[in-house]
């Protein structure tokens, strides 16, 4: 089965006289984990709410596989709202089954899926406990299960990693990866930039209601990479090149970091290093996601 992709086109929305979204457009491709990054109040949650139909944007549209988001399409979304939403006084398994049935899953199937999801998330023994008796981290896992109970064709997750311990984070990451590998487009927002950097195939960076960068994560970083190179020479940790157009940034055990001006030739740097000793590392330095973020937000 081929999976369609989600397209957000020109979403614009005002809250009172504050413009929350200003022509937001991007695509979430099937089989790709897409990280949605932006400062607090940048418009991530508003965009996600518009995608799932909880908020009607003033302008713009959302399509899935080229079709507008009808009720039928919305029912195929696994959605995890930013502020966690489940019934505190309902039993864990029972509410998963209820939500599954609301989303069109027959009762028996929903029961089997709830059991298997809770098993995967390590919550089988809490199935019959009231939700509010679980720790916040465990409630969050139930929330994940709720988003997956109907085997959605599209996942929209607002801050799925917040409040999780490192182990739960890894479980969650593996889960998202698994869904993406199965061909499902996955969009998730997060403030944990290292996690996003490690996990995501695609990125959407949003700032003050505008998308400032979107696309393949690696390509974005390469695009914004300057002419900074790292070179490491075995046995000479403090080596510094003495070549025109090259400025030393730092030299140490991590190797030597050099900024090249436009005229300088990176190959000259490599040749100079090789003349000193065996080169163990040579690369163009890509900006980290935090660098990228800081740059576009500036």
């Amino acid at each position: 089965m081929t999976h369609p992709s989600l397209a957000v086109q020109d979403l614009t929305h005002d809250f009172g006289d504050r413009r929350a979204l200003d022509g937001v457009s991007f695509e979430v491709r099937p089989g790709r984990l897409t990280g949605f990054v932006g400062a607090n109040g940048a418009g991530k949650t508003t965009t996600m709410r518009a995608i799932v139909g909880v908020l009607a944007p003033d302008a713009g549209k959302v399509t899935f596989g080229g079709e507008p988001m009808t009720l039928g399409a919305r029912r195929r979304i696994g959605y995890m709202p930013e502020e966690r939403g489940l019934y505190p006084k309902m039993k864990v398994a029972e509410q998963l089954v209820y939500l599954g049935r609301v989303l069109g899953v027959p009762r028996a199937t929903a029961q089997a899926r709830a059991a298997s999801l809770l098993e995967t998330l390590g919550l089988s023994d809490r199935a019959d406990d009231l939700l509010h008796t679980l720790s916040l981290g465990n409630q969050q896992r139930v929330q994940v299960a709720a988003a997956l109970i109907h085997e959605p064709d599209l996942l929209i997750l607002d801050e799925p990693f917040s409040g999780l311990d490192p182990i739960a984070m890894d479980t969650m990451a593996a889960h998202l990866r698994g869904r993406a590998d199965a061909g499902v487009p996955v969009l998730f927002s997060s403030h944990q930039l290292d996690m996003v950097e490690r996990l995501c195939d695609d990125l959407v960076l949003i700032h003050e209601g505008r998308v400032v960068a979107a696309g393949d994560a690696r390509a974005l970083r390469e695009e914004r990479a300057g002419r900074r190179f790292r070179v490491a020479v075995d046995g000479s940790p403090g080596w510094a090149p003495d070549l025109p157009g090259m400025t030393l940034v730092e030299a140490g055990r991590q190797g030597t970091l050099v900024d090249l001006d436009d005229a300088a030739d990176p190959q000259a740097l490599l040749a100079a290093a090789q003349a000193v000793g065996p080169v163990t590392h040579y690369s163009r330095v890509l900006p980290s996601l935090s660098d990228l973020f800081a740059e576009v937000v500036r």
Binding site: E83, V102, G104
Partner: protein, 403 residues
């Protein structure tokens, strides 16, 4: 992809309603209040029957000279006529009144003082019924003595002491009713007041719970807001009606068990109108209760957002209680949508409404219900997703138009 993906409207509404019911049925507070209510109704029916069935019994000690008075009192008590209380009086002989009442089984002792006046001796007090009977007997004895002295015949004496009561001719006799209709109105009024308030608040709470826990975002992403509202209202309406039927049923069964078949048939006749108006009246307000819930963002705000709803339930209740006699105000209010659900069946119960009147009032209430459901649905749609702060009515109305 399974065929059931696009679950139908009825399925979804039923599912949402089912959850409301399941939650309610397991709510200990709800179960407790229902049980208490059923118990109160059964007790209210059974206890008076038990008390009524018991004629009080007294033991009266009498000196020989007071004996005729004591026996007359016993005779009047056994008869229970002339508006006098009924009592079974056992007369025993005694020499000394004070010594006789020392016996705890003896309620009072009768004797005559040197002037021939009756003296009642008792320990702490004389039971009201007994005192009344003795007084009547004593008066009859005096009258008899005076009449005898005046030389009246036995018949004349009898005519004097036991006068023939007046005959009552009714031109438009009202049907004999074992329970005063006013009481039926009060009971139904209170029960409806209680139920509408309980379930109205339950709807509001359920809405605000979904709002504050944000479940509503997940639900609204997958279910049209109005279906959600419909399921919520229907679930609670079913429970509310169920509770009322249970309480009325328990009361009727209790009455039947106590051999009060007349009460059963009298209540059954009026309860039909009460129940029909109850269902309509409940549905009329239910969506507005949901709105009261959706205007709040936290459970603490319910107190203020449900205030007007509480008034909308309280006012009709007190109107129905206080307007028990037919008046232009009562007639007018029995057609006013808010008060009609209680006042119109009340007028039927007291026999003041013509046969066509409840149908007209029902039409008025039904039309109002339709309008209020539409208004309520729009306000609900416009406010249920605003989870950050209390929503103003105007804002909800505008937002509901877009939703």
């Amino acid at each position: 992809m399974t065929a059931s993906r696009g679950a139908s409207r009825t399925d979804l509404i039923r599912l949402v309603a089912g959850r409301e019911i399941a939650v309610k049925i397991r709510d200990k507070g709800f179960l407790a209040s229902t049980l208490v209510f059923v118990a109160v109704i059964v007790i209210a029916i059974v206890v008076p029957t038990l008390i009524e069935g018991d004629t009080p019994e007294y033991t009266v000690a009498s000196t020989a000279d007071a004996r005729p008075v004591a026996e007359t009192a016993a005779a009047i008590g056994a008869d229970g006529g002339l508006g006098l209380p009924e009592a079974a009086i056992t007369v025993i002989d005694a020499e000394d009144p004070a010594a006789a009442v020392a016996d705890p089984d003896v309620d009072a002792a009768l004797s005559l003082d040197p002037d021939g006046a009756v003296v009642v001796t008792a320990r702490e007090g004389v039971p009201g019924a007994l005192e009344e009977l003795v007084a009547t007997a004593s008066a009859a004895a005096s009258a008899q003595a005076v009449a005898a002295e005046a030389g009246l015949s036995a018949d004349q004496v009898a005519a004097l002491t036991t006068p023939t009561p007046p005959r009552v001719d009714l031109l438009e006799p009202k049907e004999e009713q074992p329970v005063p209709p006013e009481l039926v109105v009060v009971i139904f009024g209170f029960m409806f007041y209680f139920t509408v308030l309980t379930f109205g608040v339950a709807i509001a709470q359920s809405v605000v719970e979904e709002k504050s826990s944000r479940v509503v975002e997940i639900l609204v992403a997958a279910v049209p807001i109005r279906w959600l509202l419909a399921g919520k209202v229907l679930g609670n309406a079913v429970m509310a009606l169920g509770q009322v039927v249970l309480i009325v049923g328990a009361g009727l069964l209790g009455a039947r068990a106590m051999g009060q078949g007349e009460i059963v048939s009298q209540v059954l006749v009026v309860s039909g109108w009460f129940l029909a108006f109850f269902v309509l009246g409940f549905l009329m307000l239910a969506c507005l209760w949901a709105v009261a819930g959706s205007l709040a963002s936290r459970i603490e705000e319910l107190q203020s957002t449900t205030l007007y709803m509480q008034i909308a339930v309280m006012v009709p209740f007190f109107t129905a209680i206080f307007l028990q006699t037919e008046s232009p105000a009562r007639i007018a209010l029995s057609y006013f949508p808010l008060t009609a659900p209680l006042l119109m069946p009340a007028r039927v119960a007291t026999g003041d409404a013509a046969a066509w009147e409840p149908w007209v009032a029902m039409g008025v209430v039904a039309l109002t219900a339709l309008a209020l459901v539409a208004i309520g649905a729009r306000l609900y749609a416009g406010s249920v997703l605003n989870t950050s702060s209390r929503t103003k009515l105007g804002g909800a109305w505008a937002a509901g138009g877009r939703a």
